[in-house]
Symmetry: C2
Subunit: 164 residues, 2 copies
């Protein structure tokens, strides 16, 4: 039965950042403005990087590897109310998949030099895609519970809320 | 060894669209402008949807379930040159994970009524996140091999190139 299907994925590389613990980490890339990191792609996947350095921004899809289990309703860093996990970016999700758009400054062989990165050091990478504003950056009309809060995300930092 | 770690994910729902075969499918959400679909979240995850309907746009992360195996270099629909798979949105990727930003028109219980959807009917859903323009929609400077092509994506349709 499709619903019960288990899908298997394997990291294609690692994300290296200055954030060694979750405390004090930016909670979103806006809070990570200027923070530099590196993505190391495992050599067996390096051929897949051809022409990626033509793009100024890339999408990283990764595994929230420190998240154990999940909660369907959470109180996010940005609010004091309970919300469904799918209306938040909290890491304890049924599938602990994370997503960030970062700036790509340089690519040397299988190493990507990135900026505006908000994940913990050693995060396993699952996929990279070019960021294409025409398809990936629509104009929004409603921002739900984040209305009036999202521009302040740069000032919020993570705490131990989502520790194991 | 982290590098060899196998990650297990399980669909949280299904994406229903008018696209029953890959031929004639839009290749990106711009080509799917106005196309309506539904996301059915499995009842056991429905509590995670609370307050999602406050957002006009959501991120869908899903499994390219018809893609079997992968190629590190591909000739994408939009170009006649070979590119690394990570600089394209082609479905045959080392981890066959897809990503689309869609409009959320309505939510009724565990059904999301969405618009601008570009995936095949029956696509297994892995995660939903709110789309937050401040963090997810940066201004780009370079669009690589897609420069001058990305606004034409609405006119391109899929063919059998990435069939099994």
């Amino acid at each position: 039965m499709m619903k019960k299907n288990i899908l298997l994925f394997k990291p294609i590389g690692l994300i290296k950042t200055p954030f060694k613990t979750r405390e004090g980490m930016p909670i979103q890339p806006t809070g990570a403005k200027g923070i530099k990191g590196e993505v190391e792609i495992y050599p067996e996947f390096a051929d897949g990087l051809k022409d990626l350095d033509g793009f100024s921004h890339i999408i990283l899809i990764y595994h929230f590897h420190l998240s154990d289990g999940f909660k369907l309703q959470v109180k996010p860093f940005m609010d004091d109310k309970i919300h469904g996990v799918f209306s938040t970016r909290a890491p304890k999700r049924p599938n602990s998949i994370g997503f960030s758009v970062v700036k790509l400054n340089k690519m040397v062989d299988n190493i990507l030099y990135i900026e505006n990165i908000d994940v913990i050091d050693g995060t396993p990478l699952l996929d990279i895609k070019p960021f294409i504003p025409e398809v990936d950056g629509p104009k929004t009309e409603k921002l739900g519970w984040l209305e009036g809060k999202s521009d302040k995300m740069g000032h919020k930092q993570s705490d131990k809320r989502f520790e194991k």
